[in-house]
Symmetry: C2
Subunit: 673 residues, 2 copies
Amino acid sequence: MKDVPHAQAYTVPAVHAHPLDPLSPVELERACGIVKANRPTQRLFIKSCQLREPPKAELVPYLNAERAGTPLPPPARQADVLFFDLADRSLTESIINLDTGSETSEVVEGHHAAHSKDEIMEAREQLFKDPTFLETVAKLNLPPVDVVVAPWPVGADNTSPQPRRIAWILYCRGPSNHPDSNQYAFPLPPVIFWNVWDKRVDSVEWCYTGGEGDAMVHKPLTGKSVIEGMQPGEYLPELNGLPRRELKPLHVTQPQGVSFSVNGNLLEWQKWRFRIGFNAREGPVLHDVTYDGRRVFYRLSLSEMHVPYGDPRPPLHLKQVFDFGDVGLGRAANSLENGCDCLGSMRYFSWADVNSAGRAFTAKNVVCCHEQDNGILWKHTNSPTGRATVVRQRLLVLQTIITVGNYDYIFAWQFDQAGGIHLETRATGILSTSPIDMGKTSPYGTVVSPGVLGTSHQHFISVRIDPSIDGDANTITQDDVVADPWGPENPHGVGFRVSSTPIAQSGWADAAPDQNRVFKIQNRSVINPITMTPVGYKLVPLPSQMRLSQPDAMITSRAPFTQHHVWVTSYKDGELYAAGKYTNQSNGKAGGLETMVARKDNTLDTDVVLWHTFALTHIPRIEDFPVMPVETHTVSLKPNNFFTSNPALDVPLSTQAFNKSTLAECSGCPAKL
Amino acid sequence: MKDVPHAQAYTVPAVHAHPLDPLSPVELERACGIVKANRPTQRLFIKSCQLREPPKAELVPYLNAERAGTPLPPPARQADVLFFDLADRSLTESIINLDTGSETSEVVEGHHAAHSKDEIMEAREQLFKDPTFLETVAKLNLPPVDVVVAPWPVGADNTSPQPRRIAWILYCRGPSNHPDSNQYAFPLPPVIFWNVWDKRVDSVEWCYTGGEGDAMVHKPLTGKSVIEGMQPGEYLPELNGLPRRELKPLHVTQPQGVSFSVNGNLLEWQKWRFRIGFNAREGPVLHDVTYDGRRVFYRLSLSEMHVPYGDPRPPLHLKQVFDFGDVGLGRAANSLENGCDCLGSMRYFSWADVNSAGRAFTAKNVVCCHEQDNGILWKHTNSPTGRATVVRQRLLVLQTIITVGNYDYIFAWQFDQAGGIHLETRATGILSTSPIDMGKTSPYGTVVSPGVLGTSHQHFISVRIDPSIDGDANTITQDDVVADPWGPENPHGVGFRVSSTPIAQSGWADAAPDQNRVFKIQNRSVINPITMTPVGYKLVPLPSQMRLSQPDAMITSRAPFTQHHVWVTSYKDGELYAAGKYTNQSNGKAGGLETMVARKDNTLDTDVVLWHTFALTHIPRIEDFPVMPVETHTVSLKPNNFFTSNPALDVPLSTQAFNKSTLAECSGCPAKL
């Protein structure tokens, strides 16, 4: 990074409440304004602008002092601006000090920026006027319905001649030509590779449409419509007939209000206290998570999502998007609707972003926060007396929903009353489809509608867990449960015990449910007075199938984090992204977890980060079409000998006076117990 | 079985509504009455009496005709009665035809009956007067608090001299001597083996109390109290201080009533239709499950639960209870309280059982049925227009809660709107504890309170899935996802596909999440018209650690179903129990899954049963004491190319008009969006 001479003097610090608050609209425009003012003769295209969080060495003392009620002066407020110079097509990253107005910048060489909305909108407009595109569409002999183009951050392979940042996958609307007709029921064979700089088609490639036995045979166009025989697959009720009618309303009410409090971006609920951040790349981020005043996690975030497809036939072998790196979790977030996306008493959080001109705008309601009943938390009936004691479980849920092209994902961070934090992910939305000859089946997916192949694929999610278990010096252990051999101490062959291995050096590990493997985050300098073991939290990794691509394939080198379930690194400011900062068209040199662990840093009793990769290998069912019922995964972080008893012991008993349940009124339901 | 001559003539058929209804109180007493009347000179002790379900060959035509609206005469109504003859100490099983009053019976040789409440109550009363017991307790030098005895269905090993059906594990109350003080915080060293026939102590064995390094050193009593240094570990609020106070009520209401209907034991909800049964051994059983008129499952049940402990030191190596076989899921069921165990609009089901005299009594509210919101079911935002379409998910939940000594379990069968059925299990209650010398740790568990070892153990649950996917002739396949090798058809190394293997012969298989292994239940004679593949349902087995005992240990031979995740058998009437019918003191000859699969029956295109074993290997955390936050597992059965599209496509959209959400009222919550 080099210093950039000031074009303007900034003496007034930016207005902000807390060092971890997302940039305000004023700050966003100020940061972009500085970048532009420092380059008065250049035409800039702003790609992104977001908070650059303070270095941990500065922030930890600040947060500790803040929690202790003895505040320190805040660290410098900084923005991270990424922009194109439209003349020389260079990409630059600038760090703006919003307190002083100073800028340092660096040209980004050898990497490509993520897609952004303005770029896609502009390219789409140009595409629809492009003669090559129009000629291609004409060859398809479509009925009079609109063509729909889906922007696609193209992947990379070992042989393709050049980086190609954007391609368009083509579909058309159903016979209704309704603007919300489901285009995925009508996939078209051509894929258009688009040159964003020269604003023209680079090439048109045609998908293979064969099936079992002739998968890679290209067939000439017959002159008939390419969608002949395909059927509408609508999900919108007005296109899809009457809904089922027997469902009665179910309401969730909190007549005395909610149990959480909000102060800016600080949330407090049931002994939990944390800050919620939000940025273009990672979406919601949880900071400085404490329970009953004890530090637990410094930062929790979704680091990356990677979705490679298993159809090896060009050009669709390049379907290998990094949803957060190529698009952005925050940028893809839906504006949530009360009573539709969320049920009960809701608190929403909005967020400010910038467009390509550096003007701020608000993305409304990108996070909703609410409480949820989650069944019974603990119960016991004391047999000698028959007395039952039961406590229900309340969750605090922070939900964000994103749309990335065909797919939609629901992410929810859930806090419970027993010291646990859970990340629930739900995959929904629409399958990515491609055309297949009528009457054929394919080894690469499932025929989900006549002539439509729902392609098999994987979703890999990397969760970044930056712990602070009673402080920053933590150690990760791998704990397996092993059988004792026969012997004098195991005379009946029933004994077993835990075998615990501290991870001494940055590296990776895998899930092993057959050994009941868990990973513990321990502070070995704080010993639990009762168990006489280090205090800790545990992660039970989801034991999903890892990457199915060949180890020496380009796609594997682009996303090495998809090879193992667990990664342990030493903490370094700015190391946030499992597949590297610049994933678009990356070629195996983008950094990411494999690069970080290669340092072979000490990871004992030091500031460590635990990363968890889990996956959904999705072999489509026809039940996933035309829109997919949620496929849900939950990752939990639970206290493990951190407290001195069940921390939910003081949750009030479940009583009818409090819960006010009723007897069902239904045909056949008696009125009395 | 031999016929028993009638003592009385029965000409009037028993009153019952449906062949699958549990026995009514009248039927229970009639069945027991027949058994007693046929043996006028014998003193009988009734162990159990429950419906003997009709043979499948009779029941399937009956159910098909019933659903078609062309009813057939019902099959014979039968009861299965198990009883002791108190004179010769024999155990007899009788089958009573309630329509004719005829009895066939067989003496059960080489097996032992499950515990029953009257037997335990009687033994407990005798124990407290037994001189050996009183002498043993006197040696402990306890303060003036009551001793609490926990009945224990003793396990078996290779060397113990004789079957010992009941033992008592000893605890005492805390200093308050409150009747609901948590005795598990005060485990005592002696274990009392009790002779139920001679009504006296067989032997007293003393637990080892050493720790790491001296685990198997017996130390003499010092004369000091054996509980010196132990601390109360109360969970009851009145013994445990004030509860946290910030929790505001959360109510679930259904102002227009519930969406399900009940007709006797027939439930209908959202295209689902099934009957709920209930019996002493298995608790809730789901029969004849159809969706939108199509047959899906013939019978779903919890077959067995086995809980072996990992402390190899005698006598606690014999902690290896079969909770359903030794006690009974139905018999252990709690009477659920409205607003405590259940939230919302509830429908309860009660059940009738018999005591040792053959008198019927009602176990109230052993099942609660209600609807539950389960977040978003599907959502998609159509990027070209920005239109979001969202549908929330409703579940129908049938919940049963059981208490087996220290532990409590919550079982919930959940039906969803997308053709899925889920079994959720929650383990809660109190750890089984034993004494450990102050200041020591142990390889066999966690010190959860001073001087108290929470012992490591496993919980194995066997779910029995009797499918009827569009009929009874089904096939189970094992489907893995495998990478394609490099080659002309995989030029970029990204391809993968499903490898499917039908299970041709009864046997077992294991979970393999690293291969994304699923088991499909298919009807290969019914081909999905769109996917062109057999219709089916799939089970994703939970990939938990299987048994840790040595393969040649007695405990392993008692519960071979704990060695593998998946078992496939050919259907045979009465084969319901994974570890055999008689598990108490079983010795490896009780039958069960290993015996069933040894027949090596054909399992292709025939009536098959799929059994799933999943486990929780529980290494106690101190957070699990004095009462354990639920540890939750869910097993799902989902349609897999059974329908021709997402079956939840017609669920009404989620709207604020229907859901009536509100904005949170809280400190810091703005009043407007």
